[in-house]
Amino acid sequence: MVLAVISALLVTFLVPLLAFAPGLALTRRATEGLLPSERIAIAAAFGLGLLGVVLFTVGLASFNRASLGAVVLVMAVVWFLPGVRRELAQTLRAIERPRWPWATALGISLGFLLLSGLAEPVGTMGHDGISYHLQGPRIWLREGRIVPMPDFSLTAFPVSVEAIFGTLMAFSNHRAPCAIGAIYVALLLVQTHGLARWVGASSGWSLAAACTVVTMPVVVVQSTTAFVDVPYAVYALSAVRVALLCTSPAGIMVGGAFIGFAMGTKYTGLPLAFATVGVALVAAFRRNDQTALRWLAGSVCVGSLLALPFYLRNYLVLGSPIYPPPVALYDHLDVRYFPRAAAVAMEAYVYERGYGFGHGPLDLLLVPWRFSMFPGTFHGAGGIGIVPLGLGPIGWWVARKRAGMGELTVWSLCVGLVWFLTQQEARFVQVLFVIGAVLGALGANWLSSRSRLGLVLSVLVTGVSIVYGASTVVKATGPASLGPAALSALSPSRAEMRRSEIPFRRAFEALNAAKDVGRVLIVDPKAPPYYLDHPHTKIVGMYGETPFDGPVTLARLADAGVTHVFETDKHRAPPWLLPHLELLFAADGARVSRIHTGDARPGNAQGVDHPLPPSQGALPNP
């Protein structure tokens, strides 16, 4: 266990470090005028974004240690350019040292997050990290290239960050993709501090804004469990910072690239792209800046090119660039493995899960208040505290006339409105929480210098948010419980306790140890194949996917190389398959059997089809 933790720790730092050099080389012109710490963070984010896109593109042909290592090493060659190291040295020397209380608090928080990320990932199919963020790379490494996973449609989401996860797994183990989440959080905190200084907050209150963000449960609870929301927020915030607030030609181009990285990370990057380009266009027209307009066209091309591999792969392999596809696309596209009924059920599920308190005009006005007070309704994991709600509007009022503030305001409103109208899932708009904390820092700065009561209230609001958020993060239970996870990275007995959260653990372990296993048919749509070392397939996926794209027969199972069947107490094999099964072992509510085609009943032996009933579009409990 110790070696696994050390290996994950080393690779977690080494890969971003190697990718940092091209990031710095390509962003140094765009970030001129920013704080040195912010320049470093944006360069690191750019390096990681570029690495993800290149890894995915190369991985479509080959996804193994050799090809992934070659990509990382080629990017690392930039380190040998003399200008890069000189630039880095100068920038590092110029970084102002933060005040020690804030630096200590931030350091402890990041250390805690890193430690929790070094724990062995566990959970059920309800945990996005287990069901697809880690599952996809695991299969790519086994298959030697990036392939779709037809029994779980969400693996077809844009996967630039998952490509990095796969690389970390290839050179270390499954702990590293979770641990790198702490690095993304660190980048987000540095950007928070930089943006707060840009709006005019003092150094102290800017660091307080970073502390507020690192104690927002919505931001950090899932940050080290292989979720991609923090990387997405880092890319989105970087895009805004360099494209909307710097507006130099280089800034606009780099901003376009960041939008491309965001589109390659989550589908929410698509509306984000429209909002960013729209705001930048209007701003350029208002300034009558013809140069900016030309560069903006170029940046749109750059962003589109960087995002293209993800959407083109989906279109060519799965039949739809956005997969799982919206129902409206079924009339125009030939979608594979995902029936229309499943798409209808998926849309209903998304609508219900993202309903919040409603979609009416009054709900829109009340959403900041309701979000801060009742985050559970938005799956908010404990919320964001009250700094954005209480101090944010004050900060906005103070900075409203600042150059660039109009663009930032309109952009934030656009992103928030799209979120409100589509799926009100808290973690999708982490970037807005950062902006809220930044404005809150300015509000506190302004108010505390004008009124003694204002100082008391500002400290109270910030303190309550930080203490409440930190206690919520530490006390969180379930798969996202960071406290027990951090302990399990240090203690073998705690690690063993954590493994008890693996569903059907003994059955998976026995099946992994068994010989002559080809492909395993997992009958239960909600059984996580993440814990299986052998290839697998399912009859019906968790969201109604149909990996066989038609009736399932014994002959088709044989063609797919299925040798074993994994059943659970809740989902047994279909009746036509039962006579062919030889039970090997049963444990933890699961049964593993071997398929014997020779013992088949006459009807099956002759290959008569036994189609399964159509998918019910089974969905997980929210």
Binding site: W369, G390, L391, G443, R450, S451, L453, G454, L460
Partner: protein, 58 residues
Amino acid sequence: VAQTSVKDEPALDVPARRLPSLAVVASNVWLVIVILGFVHSRILTSNIFAQLWQRWFH
């Protein structure tokens, strides 16, 4: 020594106390509202306080 009356003493150099601006007052009121709302939503609805509330007032 000539005595001086209180009336003749020079005024101390104390600046007139300025009233806080409307923006500051509004900000403070807003923060109080937010804090009370948070306390209400987080603490009064948590289990222990809900149980005490039930025991004492119902």
